[in-house]
């Protein structure tokens, strides 16, 4: 097999030609070729071993301003040609949409020339045997860490090299590549009759920058043990501290509300609020598509618009939504380089960190809850109501007292952003949506 970038590019060219032949007036084609490896160990045995090259083609076709799309894993010429005909025929049933279409012409020369450190050479160089040994070592590390660790759901080590090419009928020609590695562990601690599973994982562009296997194993053990003996807290209104990963889950929901695709249809509490205050001065939320080595970094977005750094909320003021070309046109704004998978996606979205540590937030909290983990997901983007199940640690007099679970935390997103009264400096770019730990001055904790 040759360079997957060349293969992706050649297939995208073929697809564009076939879709034009079928009658599309404009189109873009994205071909992704991913080489993935994954292994899992449990106890002293390798339990899963996966290695594959997966390919996919995604085409957006425009017949005038009627939009139709195709996705396929059948990359044979006949397969693409047949689907192209089907897609162009279906476009006749789509309504006229004056906002639909390719981005205004982008000069693709030079777009891919900046090295954004999306490929780490140590990914291709590392032998599978070495990764398998590492997964086994993580299993040993979690067993040896504490006598209360009685079981494991398995330790996983994975990597991927993803090549993708984007070609459109207006002359855009782009091809790029990204590597990714991840490590995850899931030890189980005994808690009387019950069990506590601790999940922790990390991801990076390369092995060199990733959190070590041992650190991941120990962090997962810490999470399993932190909740041993947890009880249900009283119902109360108190400060709530979101530890890094729980904080990132809040940012995840904020991204949905910032997405022009939700804003344009009124399915966001931030709709019609551009230029207004939606949080206090501490809150600045940035999406940076060009962050060096970021997991969401790419020279151009899913439709060939160069990526950039965008401040969505600056010191509490809503400056802009995050958008692709289509939803931007609907809202009368330019694309922010956030086209992804046919919709709007985050590149590297984060809450700008403060200073200090998570411990500082805890020690300055008289009575409250440190949330280590939330469960549940958002469905209420329109109303902005926030309510999640949570697990964590009850705090009194600035010190952790005991573990708590089976409770919810509730507020609205806007009250939360207005009540953020402390942000730690512990931001890590180990995902595409990340956050430092932060504290909200008051939320409803529902327990007994």
């Amino acid at each position: 097999m040759g360079d997957p970038r060349d293969e992706a590019f050649a297939l995208a060219e073929v697809a564009i030609a076939l879709i034009a032949e079928a009658g599309a007036s404009d189109a873009d084609a994205t071909v992704t070729i991913a080489d993935r490896f994954a292994c899992e160990a449990r106890d002293d045995e390798v339990t899963k071993l996966e290695r594959s090259r997966g390919r996919g083609l995604h085409v957006r076709a425009f017949v005038g301003n009627r939009r139709s799309t195709l996705s396929t894993s059948d990359l044979s010429r006949e397969g693409i040609a047949e689907l192209a005909k089907r897609v162009v025929a279906a476009a006749a049933f789509v309504g006229e949409d004056s906002h639909a279409g390719l981005p205004d012409a982008v000069d693709s020369d030079g777009v891919c020339d900046h090295d954004l450190f999306t490929v780490s050479p140590d990914v291709a160089e590392r032998a599978d045997e070495d990764k398998i040994d590492e997964a086994l070592a993580m299993e040993r590390a979690i067993r040896e860490a504490d006598v209360r660790i009685a079981n494991s759901d398995g330790s996983r080590v994975r990597d991927a090299l993803v090549s993708w090419a984007l070609v459109n009928t207006r002359g855009f020609r782009g091809v790029t590549q990204g590597s990714q590695v991840s490590r995850a562990a899931a030890p189980v601690a005994l808690d009387g009759e019950s069990k506590r599973i601790g999940h922790y994982g990390t991801a990076a562009r390369g092995w060199e920058n990733a959190e070590s296997a041992e650190a991941v194993a120990l962090h997962a053990v810490h999470r399993a043990l932190a909740l041993v003996g947890a009880r249900k807290p009283a119902t109360m209104r108190v400060p709530v501290i979101f530890e890094r990963d729980a904080a990132a889950a809040v940012l995840d929901d904020l991204f949905a509300a910032l997405s022009a695709a939700n804003v344009a249809i009124g399915n966001s509490w931030l709709a019609d609020r551009a230029g207004e205050r939606v949080g206090n001065e501490r809150v600045t939320i940035v999406d940076d598509g060009r962050l060096r080595g970021g997991l969401g970094t790419s020279p151009f977005d899913g439709e060939g618009v160069p990526t950039r750094e965008t401040v969505a909320i600056r010191n509490g003021m809503l400056e802009t939504y995050l958008s692709d070309t289509y939803w931007g046109r609907r809202l009368g704004m330019a694309s922010t380089g956030n086209a992804s998978g046919g919709g709007v996606g985050a590149n590297n979205l984060y809450l700008v960190p403060g200073t200090g540590t998570l411990d500082d937030l805890v020690s300055t909290t008289e009575r409250g809850v440190l949330v280590l983990d939330t469960i549940g997901f958002a469905t209420e983007y329109a109303s902005g109501v926030y309510s999640r199940g949570a697990r964590g640690i009850y705090i009194e007099d600035g010190a952790p007292r005991y573990a708590v679970d089976e409770f919810t935390i509730a507020s609205t997103f806007e009250e939360m952003l207005r009540n953020v009264d402390g942000i730690a400096g512990d931001l890590r770019f180990d995902g595409t949506i990340v956050s430092p730990s932060f504290r909200v001055a008051e939320m409803t904790v529902s327990g007994t």
Binding site: R42, E45, T47, K48, L49, E50, R51, S52, R53, G54, G56, R67, S68, L70, S71, T72, S73, D74, L75, G79, L83, V87, A90, A91, F93, V94, G95, E96, D97, A100, D153, G154, V188, K195, R196, I197, K232, I265, G266, N267, A271, I375, G376, F377, T379, E380, A382, S383, V385, S387, R388, G389, R391, E406, T408, A410, S411, T444, S446, G447
Partner: protein, 467 residues
């Protein structure tokens, strides 16, 4: 159009997969065409067609599984996949393995579906009707999004124990999301329906009825109070309330967690795990339901399973790998999202049969509590069984009567604990609308849920209200 791989080729691929050893190997081939139309603000905005075609080769040895897939279906590519999968069983020896395949057919459990999608005009008409009905329902409806999707998945599963089984699975869904607005307040409502059938189903389950129900949910919430906070009795509504069983109990009874001993239900078959009013089934063989599989993704027929009977745990949901290790038979629960991933033990249609109380009696028994008509989602943590449900539509119960609607409520609790607190079960048991999708380990599969009206004597409601 829908044909599988040549059985002679499958035989060679399976032999190759097992040449380093292994208890068994299988090849999963699929060819799936999905046609979708989306409507927004009264216009059809997008048509999309998706083809998922490829094959995965698996080698199983004890608790080990090696896996590789290919979207290229020629012999050389499939041999490469077999080679990669075989590495899991590397024991230094070269085996000559003879495989013979005999064809088996899947039972007929789906309603008729043509090989090709229907005329595009039919999908467009369904969406236009939904849009008109949602807007006509209430002037406060400000946005309507709807989709209709029609899928036909052809699968062929060949196993080294000699079976090659094919199945042809239709799946349709139509969903309507409504945003209603009153001043600065916005609320949404959602309803979907469908099943393993053709779009003819919408002649009966009309798009108008789905759209009106979605608009009703959104506009009801416009007048809603903040949800209360704290512990109180909770009534779970018939149908969609079945998400409770899926999350609070179902996942904990999947065989992988129990074979590994990570589930709180591990090793507890025969023990009391719920109040004696609680019986839970998981059926893969209900005709036309969304979670039905005539055969699962390992070629085992879908079947009726008793998970919990009158409060006693009866058994787990098994796929082939876990069933072998636990010394039982597969229950036809081996499912996967696509050819790109390994199968896992999964639920099909999980439900509780009807009990004896009427819904009115159940509500009347509560002085102050919450009535959760339906959930918009839920999640469970397996080792201890803590769950969360987001309530899509809920009401206060005051003085034995349903009073005001509430918004923004969640339920949080512990699965086994909640099951001991089931004190009344309604006579109105039914499956919910066919619109649920379950996620596990990053894989999404269609499922069904169902439940009669059920009373939980106590559960924590997570709202912001102080009342």
């Amino acid at each position: 159009m829908l044909t599988g791989l040549d059985p002679a080729l499958l035989t060679r691929v399976l032999s190759r997969a097992l040449r380093r050893g292994g208890d068994f190997a299988d090849v999963f081939f699929e060819n799936r065409l999905t046609q979708t139309f989306r409507l927004q603000d009264g216009q059809i905005r997008e048509a999309s067609s998706t083809v998922l075609r490829g094959a995965g080769v698996r080698v199983v040895l004890g608790q080990r599984a090696g896996y590789a897939y290919s979207d290229d279906l020629d012999e050389a590519a499939l041999f490469r996949a077999a080679e990669a999968a075989s590495l899991i069983a590397r024991d230094g020896r070269e085996h000559d393995v003879a495989v013979e395949l005999a064809s088996a057919s899947a039972p007929a459990l789906y309603e008729a579906h043509a090989d090709e999608p229907a005329d595009s005009a039919r999908y467009v008409d369904l969406l236009a009707r939904a849009d008109v009905a949602a807007r006509a329902f209430d002037p406060r409806v400000v946005s309507v999004n709807a989709f209709v999707t029609d899928e036909l998945q052809y699968v062929q599963i060949a196993s080294s124990d000699g079976r090659v089984v094919t199945d042809r699975r239709p799946l349709v869904a139509l969903g309507v999301q409504v945003v209603a607005r009153d001043g600065a307040q916005r609320e949404n409502g959602y309803l979907g329906d469908g099943g393993r059938t053709s779009i003819d189903v919408y002649d009966v389950k009309t798009p108008e009825s789905i759209a009106r129900e979605s608009a009703r949910i959104a506009t009801t919430k416009l007048g809603a109070r903040e949800a209360p906070a704290g512990e109180m009795p909770v009534v779970i509504g018939a149908g969609g309330g079945g998400v409770l069983l899926h999350e609070a109990v179902g996942h904990g009874l999947e065989a992988d967690f129990n074979r590994k001993g990570t589930s709180l239900y591990s090793g507890r078959v025969g023990e009391r795990v719920a109040s004696d009013l609680v019986t839970i089934y998981d059926d893969g063989d209900l005709p036309g339901e969304r979670g039905t599989v005539a055969v699962d993704d390992e070629g085992t027929p879908g079947q009726h399973k008793v998970l919990v009977e009158n409060g006693i745990l009866r058994g787990y949901m098994q796929d082939r790998l876990n069933a072998r290790l636990m010394g039982v038979a597969s229950t036809g629960s081996g499912r996967r999202e696509s050819f790109r991933v390994l199968p896992q033990p999964r639920m099909c249609n999980t439900y509780m049969p009807a009990g004896e109380s009427t819904a009115e009696e159940i509500v009347a028994s509560i002085e102050r509590g919450l009535y959760a008509t339906s959930f918009s989602g839920g999640q469970v943590e397996i080792s201890k069984g803590d769950f969360v449900f987001m309530i899509a539509e809920g009401y206060l119960i005051e003085g034995g009567k349903i009073t005001a609607p509430v918004r923004g409520a969640t339920l949080v609790g512990n699965g086994p604990d909640a099951m001991t607190k089931v004190t009344m079960v309604g006579s109105d048991g039914r499956l919910a609308n066919r619109s649920y999708t379950c996620g596990k380990g990053g894989q999404r599969v269609p499922v069904g849920v169902g439940i009669p009206t059920v009373k939980l004597a106590s559960c924590t409601v997570g709202g912001t209200g102080r009342g």
